[in-house]
Every structure is written in C-alpha cells, then in structure tokens.
C-alpha cells in the first residue's frame, strides 16, 4: 500500500468519526491519519475523549457515525476480536490464573500457533522486555513495572500491525514511569510497530511521540510534532496545556513585520504574527519561561521587547533557576534561566525588566 510518491501508506485512516452516548457527545467528529510506523500520542485532560477514540479504534465501542480504516481495511463494522490489534491497559489486565508464560502464549494459542513455536516466541519476547526469568511466575508476584512489561510482551508476541496503549504508565511512580517511557520507545524503534499512545501527561507525550494529537473537550485541538505543539501552539489551550507558559492579555495595535501588540495602556511589544489578525484583534501573548531574560537596568539587547516590573522571588532548582516577576500591569510571569551566581541573590522587590526577542513570543487570538 505505497502510493505513487513513495510515501508510506496510512496505518489508520479515520474520517467523520463520532460517538454519542444518548445526548452526551463522547467524541465530536474527528479526522485522523496515522502513517505506518508512527508513534502517535493522544494527549489531553481527563474527559477529553481519548479513551473513547481508542476504544472506537479497538472495536470495543461502535461509532455513532464515521469510518475507521486500519491498514487498508475498513474495520468500522468488524468486531474487536477480528481487528488483529494489540492493546495495553493501565492496570495491565494480565490473567491472574495464568503464569507469565501462559499469559504471553494465550494470544498465540488463539491463533493456533504450533507448541514449539509458541515456546520459542514467548522466550524471545521475554528477552525483548528484559525479563527472561519470570516465565513461571504468576503476574501478582511481579512489580507493577514488570507486569506492564509482560503485558507489552503479550501484545508484541503476536505482531499486531497496531498497538494501542491507554495510559499504560498511569499506575507507576515517576521514576519507573520515565524508565518505562524509554523502554516503550526502544521497543517501538526495534519493531517499527505503529503505536497509538494515550496519556494526560504532557511531559510523557513530549518525551515519546513522533506526533502528538492534543484533545480538548472531546475534539481534536491540534495535531503535530512535539516541536510544533511546543513552539507553535495554535490555541491558548494548546499553549497552556503543553509546557510552562505565561499568557498575557494583548490586542493587535499595528500589523506588519513584526506587528505591534498593546499589552496595557502604557506597554506594548513586537511579535511576529502567524495568522492574518487585523488591528484590534483581541487575544493573548504566549511567553515561554525559558525564552525570557531577566534584565537589570540598561542591558536590553537592541530590538528585544522589554516589560517593567519587580522581582517576587527566585528559586534555584539546580542547573536552572526560576525568577517570578510581577509586571507593572499586575500580571505575573516566570523566567527560567541557567543558574547564574550574579542573579540568584537578587533582593525580592527589586525593580527589574523582562526581555525577549520578538520571534519567541506568540499571539493567540481569543
């Protein structure tokens, strides 16, 4: 399924997909195309429709309307057990009455794989998830992280075209979660299986994904690479949800390159507009903490924006420090810099300036 341009065919093609529960919309009309081999993350707050979309793809719920094509086959009407997908659950969903090996062998037995090959493949995936010696144990004898590895092993053992994961690391503690993120990335790279990964943790999404589909209020907010979502969020929700951010009220005062934004009666700044917003458009200016500089009198680089305020406090968190500043217009913002001994001992209440180059700010319409 390669088109004439040689681009990879889509593993998932979703069009006009919608799910209602009575009068409740669980997923608004959704379009999505996932290329083969991609690691796509569905990111969004709780209740944004991530699980609903995943369940529709898995076949565990049937859509109110729309079509789902997986690997060139329209599976909209195909029952879950005939879709040939893999799924990893938050609570592992390992069979408590089976040993680890029996759990992993289960999908192969369903596929009537010969005994000897089952034994070989079970050993192979146990190696792949780096748990070669736990085959005879019961799942409950393993730690949470180990159980999740086994549930991933059970999934990849039958080589599905597509693996769905619904908050698979949600039950693990932070350190283990980071370790497992790397593990899942490694497995994805080694096997090249298309993965659809659900999380509400933006850091996890940024760490792992080829692309992120951000969801909000049961519809797609924005879809793009982690860089695109971080540096070029299209909405205030996206800016706020991904990464740390400050959003200041702003109105377009002059168009042009760069444009002029009015922030308050006495303050304005330059910004490059990415949409054709006419003069008078109301919105917010997005500033990322690491794009801002704390400046003391007179050190502003030519062409950079400057706002005045006073320092609230400074937090040294190791290699980086955070300055919290209250602007003269009352808004507060955070500045993140590499720790510099000359700025860590500043007195709270000190008059300071905040500066940034025009291209790092971003205007987002209301």
């Amino acid at each position: 399924m390669t088109d004439s341009s040689g681009a990879k065919a889509a593993m998932i093609e979703i069009s006009g997909l919608r799910k209602d529960y009575g009068s409740v919309v669980a997923l608004h009309d959704t379009e999505l195309s996932v290329p083969t081999g991609e690691f796509l993350t569905l990111l969004g707050p709780s209740g944004s429709g991530k699980t609903t979309l995943l369940n529709l793809i898995a076949g565990m719920a049937s859509p109110t309307r729309g079509r789902i094509v997986i690997n060139g086959r329209d599976v909209t009407e195909v029952p879950a057990e005939k879709r040939g997908l893999g799924m990893v659950f938050q609570n592992y969903a390992l069979m408590p009455h089976m040993t680890v090996s029996e759990n992993i062998a289960f999908p192969l037995e369903i596929r009537k794989v010969p005994r000897a090959e089952i034994r070989r493949r079970v050993a192979e995936v146990l190696d792949l998830v780096r748990l070669p010696h736990v085959g005879d144990r019961k799942p409950k004898e393993l730690s949470g992280g180990q159980q999740q590895r086994i549930s991933i092993a059970r999934c990849i053992v039958y080589k599905p075209d597509l693996i769905l994961m619904d908050e698979p690391l949600g039950a693990l503690d932070k350190k283990l979660r980071e370790q497992m993120q790397l593990e899942i990335r490694r497995i994805h790279k080694e096997l090249g299986i298309t993965m659809l990964y659900v999380t509400h943790d933006q850091e996890e999404a940024l760490n792992m994904s080829d692309r992120i589909m951000l969801m909000n209020a049961r519809r797609v907010e924005q879809i793009g690479t982690p860089d695109q979502l971080y540096f070029a969020p299209r909405t205030q929700f996206a800016a706020d949800f991904i990464g740390a951010s400050t959003l200041l009220d702003a109105t377009v005062a002059e168009t042009g390159e760069p444009a002029l934004l009015r922030l308050s009666a006495s303050e304005s700044c330059r910004v490059r507009l990415h949409s054709a917003a006419p003069v008078g458009t109301v919105g917010k200016l997005l500033l990322r903490p690491e794009a801002l500089r704390l400046v003391q009198n007179g050190q502003v680089t030519a062409g950079h924006n400057v706002l005045h305020g006073h320092l609230d406090n400074t937090l040294v968190t190791g290699a980086t420090s955070k300055h919290f500043v209250t602007l003269d217009n009352g808004a507060t913002l955070a500045i993140q810099e590499l720790t510099d001994p000359s700025t860590t001992r500043l007195e709270p209440g000190l008059r300071v300036q905040v500066s940034w180059p025009p291209e790092t700010g971003r205007f987002l319409e209301n």
């Binding site: 005939k82 879709r83 659950f89 609570n91 969903a93 408590p96 369903i110």
Partner: protein, 264 residues
C-alpha cells in the same frame, strides 16, 4: 476514662459470649448426647459409645433416606448451577431491557415464604402430572436453591475485572474462548462455593420437600421430622451430629477455595 472503656469491653465480651453460647449450645448438647450409651435422650449421657451411630446404619429406612437426600441434593445442585451460572452471566454482563426485573424474579424464591413456594409447587406438579417423587424433589430444590447460586455467581462475576475479558477479546479471542479461558476459570471458586451451598440447602430442606414428596420418597429431614412425631429416638441426635459435621466440612471447603482464589 481508662476503666470505663475496659468496663465496656468486659460487658461487650460477656454479651458476645452469651450470644455465641446460645447459638452453639444446642448443637453441642446434641453432639454430646449422640455419643452417649443410653437408648434414650438423656443429658448428660451416662457413658461413651457409638451405639446410636450404629443404630442409624442398622435401622430400616435411615440409610435409604440419606441416599435419596444425597441424590436429590446432587441433581438439584447441578440443575441450579446449570441454570443459575448463565443467568448470573447474563444479568451482570448483559445490558438488555428488563434486566432488573429478571434479577428480582430470579431471586423471588427467597422472598416468597417457603410454605407458599411449597404449596405452589405442589399444585403445579399435580397440574403437569409430574408423579415421579424424586424428580419432583429435584425440580423443587433446584428452584429453591437457584437464588443462592445466582447471587453468589453474580458477586463472583462482578469481582472479575472486565478489562481481562476485553483484553482477551482484543487479542482475538471469540466470546466462547473468553468464557472458557478467562471468565469461567476465574469464576470457578464462586461456582464451587455456590454449588456447595446449594447442596447443603437442598440436603437440609424440609418444608418444600414435605409438600412435594410422594409417600415413598422420604428424604432424611422428612424422615427425621416424621419419626419425632412417634418417638423421640436418640438416633436423631446421631444424625444431627453428622449433618452438622457435613455443614462444617462444606463451609471449610468454601472458605479454603475462596481464600485460594483471592490469593491468586
């Protein structure tokens, strides 16, 4: 403050002891009597012997009644499981109109007085001309024990994480495979427990049996009940002791099975 609390504790302990004694004493006294050497019911017994147990096996009718009770209990239990497990599955996993009403309906035999059920079954069996006494008992007991099976199995099913069944489905298992490889194995402890309870309830049942049994088909409880109307035979004490022992054994098995299942 300190002494008040311990005073309360002593009082509470005393009340609990009295209640336990009140519950247990009759069974204990019966058990003691059953090992007595007298041929009358006397307490305290005059000496130790297994005479009363010997009489149970020697006297006409007791063993036959016991076998009848066993057969009825086994068949009615199997029938109740056969009907009750699928019903529990449908009630807990399905979503169809009238589910709640059906659940209530299946539980009705415990809500309606046993005498009423007994009379209804008597009339019903007469109406459909079911004359085989053993079959009448089996059907009647299955109806009486069905609610217990449905309740126990439903509780067991609700305990099984639905994600396990969903995981199996996504892995490609048909409904039947999910049932065979996931749901039923995980439900086994509940099935065993409900089966054993159904067996005990049937084995012990008097009221319904009294109504539906024909003249020749006396289950053990019926025979005990009718024998006490003519003479208070001390053999009854021996039988009671054996029935109590049976109950205890069954309860221990149930507890063990469920404990093992929980540790799984």
């Amino acid at each position: 403050m300190e002494t008040r609390i311990s005073g309360w504790r002593i009082a509470l302990g005393a009340v609990v002891t009295v209640i336990l004694a009140f519950l247990l004493l009759p069974s204990l006294i019966t058990a003691v009597i059953s090992f007595g050497s007298s041929n009358q019911i006397v307490f305290p017994p005059t000496g130790f012997s297994l005479n009363l147990f010997r009489r149970f096996f020697a006297e006409e009718g007791w063993v036959a009644s016991t076998w009848l009770s066993f057969r009825v209990a086994i068949w009615s239990t199997l029938l109740a499981l056969f009907l009750g497990i699928p019903a529990a599955y449908a009630l807990t996993r399905g979503s169809f109109p009238g589910r709640k009403i059906l659940a209530l309906f299946l539980l009705s035999p415990v809500m309606v007085p046993h005498v009423a059920v007994a009379l209804a079954l008597y009339i019903y069996f007469t109406e459909i001309r079911l004359t085989n006494g053993e079959l009448r008992l089996v059907f009647a007991h299955a109806i009486a024990t069905l609610p217990f099976v449905v309740v126990t199995a439903s509780a067991g099913l609700r305990h099984i994480d639905p994600a396990l069944e969903r995981a199996a489905t996504v892995m490609g298992a048909s409904r039947l495979t999910v049932l065979r490889r996931v749901t039923l194995p995980l439900l086994t402890p509940s099935i065993i427990a409900s089966g054993l309870f159904a067996f005990l309830i049937s084995f012990d049942e008097v009221v319904i049996s009294w109504f539906v049994a024909r003249a020749g088909d006396t289950t053990l409880p019926i025979k005990m009940f009718s024998s006490i109307q003519f003479e208070v035979s001390p053999v009854l004490a021996a039988i009671s002791t054996m029935l109590t022992a049976l109950s205890i054994v069954v309860c221990v098995i149930v507890a063990t099975v469920q404990k093992e299942a929980r540790s799984d």
